[in-house]
């Protein structure tokens, strides 16, 4: 969402890639035409009475890109940078993602331009409920099924679903995914992305004839994705040699006990408080000696400057391209 983007939009980048791929796979021009435009875009202004008593209008989006393969899937995010270009592009990518893994779903995406960090819990709930009411006619298990995304956790989905249920007068847990287990959420969803990172690693290792047992794995990050990926590698027998968080990183060539690292982080606020490791910088995990490197913090960490220093034989991108923009 930086300056470069104002020159060429995110969606233009998508279109360029689409056309490039279309040429390679000899895609019919009509298919390209269809994949170039969202089926339906809904933009609503949501009035919210702020805690200070004043009414503000928030702009919210839902782009339903394509449903040729089935009801649409896609998250919605709360962020000051949310805009039509971004939402439209992410909806297009969701269409491709669901098709690539061959689930009978199309792609959509949504979001509200707001800064959840400056809003109270009550404001967030009220805004979410207004969003649910505004989208209710366009959402549902047979139409479009929202999921959480940046700044929209299980609690937000629960508010959204509760309001949706009120409007339609039914209990429809399948109207959203990513909801709390207690109201029908899926077990394992929280660690799903980390698990995916591991499975990709396993698959890639087998192609490269690398054994992940005892392989040295360095992970930049220790959030949800990073921790869960770490857990899977650890349980499989890999050595997690480095992890990091916003305060810095830690390194131990003999492997870290990631459960203990997590305990320390929970109690003391950072992995750097873990004693059985050497403290390193936030960027060092990218370049420590290792077999597998997993950048799972912010996107675009490997650059022209540090690329030559990466020593891993295999890199698995742990962050979602779309989510860190």
């Amino acid at each position: 969402m930086g300056e470069a983007r104002t020159q060429r939009s995110f969606f233009d980048q998508y279109l360029e890639k689409l056309r490039h791929v279309a040429e390679i796979i000899d895609l019919a021009p009509e298919a390209v035409e269809i994949l170039s435009k969202p089926k339906r875009t809904i933009i609503v202004s949501l009035p919210l009475k702020m805690d200070n008593g004043k009414t503000r209008m928030f702009t919210a989006y839902r782009v339903q890109f394509n449903d040729a393969r089935g009801p649409m899937k896609g998250g919605f995010r709360y962020h000051p940078d949310v805009n039509l270009d971004e939402v439209k592009t992410l909806a297009a990518l969701m269409t491709l993602k669901t098709a690539v893994v061959n689930i009978p779903c199309g792609g959509a995406k949504g979001g509200i331009k707001c800064n959840p960090k400056e809003m109270s819990r009550r404001e967030l709930e009220a805004l979410t409920r207004e969003y649910a009411k505004a989208l209710a006619p366009f959402i549902g298990p047979d139409i479009d099924v929202p999921a959480p995304d940046v700044n929209t956790d299980a609690q937000v989905m629960a508010w959204f679903l509760d309001e949706y249920n009120k409007v339609v007068g039914k209990i429809v847990p399948s109207a959203v995914t990513g909801k709390p287990l207690s109201i029908g959420g899926s077990r394992g969803r929280e660690g799903a992305t980390g698990r995916g990172v591991f499975f990709i690693g396993l698959e890639a290792a087998s192609k490269l004839n690398i054994s992940l047992k005892n392989a040295r794995v360095s992970i930049q990050g220790f959030g949800n994705v990073a921790f869960n990926a770490a857990k899977f590698f650890y349980e499989y027998g890999s050595k997690i040699v480095a992890v990091s968080d916003s305060r810095g990183g830690i390194y131990n060539p003999d492997g870290l006990n990631i459960y203990k690292v997590m305990e320390v982080k929970r109690k003391e606020g950072s992995v750097t408080k873990y004693s059985e490791a050497e403290t390193i910088s936030r960027e060092d995990p990218l370049t420590v000696d290792c077999d597998v490197l997993i950048p799972a913090a912010l996107e675009r960490q490997i650059t022209e400057k540090n690329a030559d220093n990466v020593k891993a034989k295999m890199i698995i991108e742990g962050g979602k391209w779309s989510d860190n923009s």
Copy 2:
């Protein structure tokens, strides 16, 4: 829709005026906030199998700006220049218009980016029906009532309504205005804008202490608005001294028989074929000697260059600002 607009959007112009007026009338900041954002914007891509067998996707809009005062009203147009900025602004203006004349309605606007002049009748009908199906859940006598606008005549409204009726399984003539009389259209609608021009003239004349009887009226244009305005002035007793069309103008200081002019235009294609008048240029009606000037062709005809030559005591803008852009 020219080049100047790319520098400052149509909607930005609207916002600037809104804020200017708000200051004058001391409008509450919350009202300004609400009038600054459309309540709901719907953008859909409509697939159309062209006569040549190929499928094309057309982008169609409906901006429902505000419904605080009642169901929304606003036309939809078919034009290659239709875009979100324009539709949004016109929807905002409709909101103000319905409020100014105090009818219990809000404002909306729509359109399809297409070139009806290059499309067959079958294509236009099929596209209109797709548009109706796509908008059906958002339209209706209690929600938003479309009307014809640029390139969307009574026949287009009939197609739209017929398809709407099929989808909702009911006969709902009140779902659109501007439909043919035979299916419930309003008598007098065709000449309504011209009649409005005349009433404004009458009102203005009374304030200026001018009598319209025998007043000399010059009209640039001879389309629907121009002709109907001409008719009302003519029947009232004014002298229509000049009219014009795309091929040129005619002038007769003793007054034209506008019915005969119309007959000539119908038969021979231009007012310039009318024999009982002097032939002038397309722009001359603006500057001929007259009491009342009605520019009813394209907008923005009186410019820095010709303003000093205008001799009329009273100018009535006959074209819709919004429609001629």
Copy 3:
């Protein structure tokens, strides 16, 4: 519904007339095509637990012929002879009738094949309610508005409407006409057909330069239509010289007091008990000396055999062609 009809159907007769008229008025072939086929025909089998405990299935119809001009209007009848050919034809005729009198409505017709004279009140109510439930999705003020017809009086309409209201969960008096005044019926509806007969007479008389004042009027029949027609003529000053019912007729060249005749009929069961008149046969009103003849009993009473004996200057068909077949 006699034997002749098995050779050429009622609807074929309609088609023949339609084509004949189409030629005369040069109707577009597409319009003929559209007027030749009902838009939608619904046939349902209604289960009814009879008073004897057994379940019987009744066949019920609703033909919605055409709604190009607006929501459809048309009665439904209960009769052993109800069949698709008849219902379809009557629906077509309703389409023409509403168009002729230029009300914004289309035409429909319905009915249940049953013998109401052999059914208990409870059975009739239960059957009507099943019919209402089966038709509920196709009926309504914006779709098709049933009315009473043969054997379906205001009470039947009230049952139908009550059940309709239950199914849709709303109070919708405008879903049927011919309902009791207490739940929104129209004043004057009961006598409407008779009133129509009188107005036609008045109109015709003016064209023929006949005065209805003191004109001698003979009426075959004394049912709802006949009595109400009689009343209007009587109040206007005509002399009602003959009336009849299924048991015979009465004749008085000086005119009958039709209110007293009705009183006698109510009390004693037949007009023939009226003392201040000569008793005649059921057919005699057709041929008595009179100025105006109104056949208002069964249809097709004037035949090759008696036509020469008709003495009236003016004949007004009081029965509905469609209803007596």
Copy 4:
């Protein structure tokens, strides 16, 4: 709502009167049976997050007593004493009221057990919106049309309607009455009850051969009903000799200028500040010398104790029996 009522319920009182009247007018037992039970009762628990952050559950009612004559009408109130017995009885009375004045409506009533005086504006709005969402499937122009009642003013109706509109996705001003003029409310509604008091007085006076011109009118109360009644009598030419509010009353045998009294009350908080009158007690208007007495404060003011002191020839009950309980 006092102690006496726990012994015999409000609804039992209604039933007793119903049966009493039924006997007098020889009402069919089945009609009595139907008028003895509400058609539908809905009780909902509404969760509300209070300003202190805690969630409370409020009990809300809607009793839809009878819709045989049309969609139901009836207010809803916010009061700590709201309970099923009261709501049910008032709904029954609404059924009788609409029938008596012969409008095509049935009767209903609703309310929330809450203390609006202890709630913030935000809490009231949120509670009203929850109520609207809970009732939405049962409410509407064709079903049941709520109105304001005790503690539910035009603003409350506007909140209710706005939320109703959001849930149904339409603009339905006819779903409630008593809304602000700006969104479709009726002119004259505010003064309607006072106007009714006057018309009843006029009608009664004519029967008693009393002239209201110069008649001395004493009014207990000076709220909405009392003031509007006063205005009508005053404009008609009656002398308003006494009015009162919760702080006391005023008396002037030559008549009060009620506009000036109102001005004083608005500015200084009580009619007792009005200088051109004698100050009396709150109860004195009941017993001052006058021709017409209008008790329009709390109900049940004329009791065994003061009845003998009432000097008016005519008493018009200005308060609603139902509303002051």
Copy 5:
């Protein structure tokens, strides 16, 4: 439903227990608040034309207590003692039951105050269909799924479902449970409660280190629950030493062949006609010598008076607390 209850309502008892448990498990006050009030209560008056031609109004209930965990489940009963207090309490208990066994459902309950033993089959069917129509908008697989209860068997559910299907215009077998197998009912449902009694017995026996093989089981009752429980114990190898019905009991210390007992009961009307056993009183099964006692007739059979005489080591309550009240 005896006298004691008029002093403290059934729901008050529930509330007391709820608060008691809440204290023990430290339940959040807001959860207690929510579990103290039904989400939605619907009371309707159903008109029924009795076989004697008269119309009676029946009061019917549906209390939808809580749906936080999913669509609600709960039976409906036909009984003269049905009242709001009872239905509300049973709906609360259903909420707890579904939560305890962790199925994704909430709790509801319903019923009609009527005496099915004094009603004809036709009346019962008509009443059930009216109930279905009245509840249709509130019922469904995603809202609330009724089940049979006291006096509402599979046939009643079939009538209810058939009418529900007619109103919604769909075939929705999942809208009720307890329907006949032929229209989608579940196998094994009829014997489910008896099976549950046995499983509880098995579980309890294992904790008490008792073997049910050859254990002597005494059962008060021989209805659906009692017989099915008997069957499961019998097949497992237990000795059923006593059973009873409303006419008395039978006892055989060597065990009864319960299939033969059932055959006798079917043919001759009572278990007491069974020859291979000693005849005892209706209450004797409670106190005969046995290892397991199953009271499965009416509730509250073991009292202060007979408790000391119970010889069983284990008692399994076979009746539902809620159903026998």
Copy 6:
């Protein structure tokens, strides 16, 4: 659909068989009554603008015979001979078929009277979409689920479903069967009828103590059913000794390689071009020496004339009785 049928309708034949079977199995008269009449028949006239610019009306049917066992199943066909009698009878047969194989479904059938061989692809698509719009309120997973039949392949179902989805605003793949795999169709559906022929053969062979291994199978036809049946027998080890198409047949007592036969037919247009077999007539497969005969071309091929020449021990009717009429 030949001449014989005009004398006795297809449905009369069905009724005769129904009554015959009812007698044998002692079916309750009420069940016979119910199985004698379709629950709901819908006939619609679909306007279609032909490629030549003219509008034609097509008559389309849907007979929903019975849904007592669940949502209805049944195909729809496009054929010039489609008529109510046929559609009604096939709907009745579908009711019996679904019941016989005990799936929780009822029976329906539909069709459009049209000649798809004389219509363009665009016309077929437009007609199908009109049909879908007209049937949308009566169709759905819980009501009636259409399937392809004569001249209605997977592409037609896809058009129908796409239009249905547009009208209902949801993605409902379960609204039709027989759709393409890519939008949710079932694998194996294409070969299902042929597979059924084989399974019936297997079952019959086991009863007759015939081994299908090496059994000589003669098949009249080589369309979808014939080819798929041939494939299953071939893979099982039977010898396919004869097949045929509209141009003639082929015979090889040692067995044909049916894959090669198919390859030849695809390339050269007829099985008769296959070189490794003797050419025979179109009818010869019925009478060649074989163990199993499968008539899978048109129905009614074995007649009084050739019946004596049939040599097979076992005949399996491969064509659908209903489809070839």
